[in-house]
């Protein structure tokens, strides 16, 4: 129906990012449940998030969440704004730009400690 056009890619990306965020959510509920086992067990669990490989996975989460949020707004505009359908292609471009613009500064804070750089937020564990 809309194979290969922006409508298909935005739909596919929305579904993939949604499933990815859900997978993270389930893992996150388990790692937070470690609070019930006391400080040692919980801190050992959360320390994994400071590893470089997990920081890279966090980047995927952040990018996915930003895209899913902005594209969600685009979907609602298509649903409720009478001219939404006409501008869906342009709105997809705006979604991608907003995702990248918001992703870059957040990504810097997440990945800088992996390179030994203190990005200046509250103690980066260094």
């Amino acid at each position: 129906m809309y194979k290969g056009q922006s409508g298909m890619w935005s739909w596919l990306l929305h579904r993939i990012t949604g499933l990815g965020i859900l997978l993270f959510l389930l893992i996150h509920i388990v790692d937070i449940s470690l609070l019930g086992f006391g400080p040692t067990v919980y801190n050992e669990g959360i320390a994994l998030f400071g590893l470089t490989i997990v920081r890279i996975l966090s980047l995927a989460l952040i990018g996915g969440l930003l895209y899913h949020s902005f594209n969600g707004v685009r979907i609602m505009l298509i649903d409720f704004w009478p001219r939404g359908t006409r501008y869906q292609g342009a709105m997809f471009a705006v979604v991608m730009i907003l995702t990248i613009v918001c992703f870059l500064p957040m990504a810097y804070f997440v990945i800088a400690p992996a390179f030994g750089i203190n990005p200046g937020n509250v103690a980066s564990g260094m």
Partner: protein, 136 residues
């Protein structure tokens, strides 16, 4: 055959699919704020390795943050698992498999909701064993 997607024209005629369609949108609007603020607080304002037992203990002295996290847990889980339900609906054609997987989606939703809710309600910091501010 029932065609349900979270993405597309509004299902008409009431019933669960119409409710689901509206739930995606209402929870979605709330989640944009809840999730992005959560992400900013725990990955930007403080580094993720500083979300230690100590920090959680201080934060959860204020019931607002427990309520905030519980709302985020509940809405994100229901929004996400409802999405998974629709993905199963879209791709699983066999009746038996569909029933099995939809049941699994329901059970996983309930189990993770209870796990998260119990964690949030029962958390009381172990006094004198708070540990470091940040973990390398």
């Amino acid at each position: 055959m029932r065609v349900s997607t979270g993405y597309g024209s509004r299902p008409s005629g009431g019933g669960f699919e119409t409710f689901s369609w509206y739930f995606f949108r209402i929870s979605g609007v709330l989640l944009i704020f809840l999730a992005i603020i959560h992400l900013f607080l725990n990955h930007v304002a403080t580094d993720v390795s500083c979300t230690s037992y100590q920090l959680i203990s201080i934060r959860y002295e204020n019931p607002f943050w427990r309520l905030y996290d519980w709302l985020l847990l509940t809405l994100a889980l229901l929004h996400g698992m409802n999405g998974l339900r629709i993905v199963v609906d879209d791709y699983v054609r066999t009746r038996g498999w569909r029933l099995t997987l939809q049941s699994a989606v329901g059970i996983v939703t309930l189990v993770f909701f209870l796990l998260g809710t119990i964690t949030l309600i029962t958390f009381h910091p172990v006094v004198g064993a708070l540990g470091p501010n940040c973990i390398k």
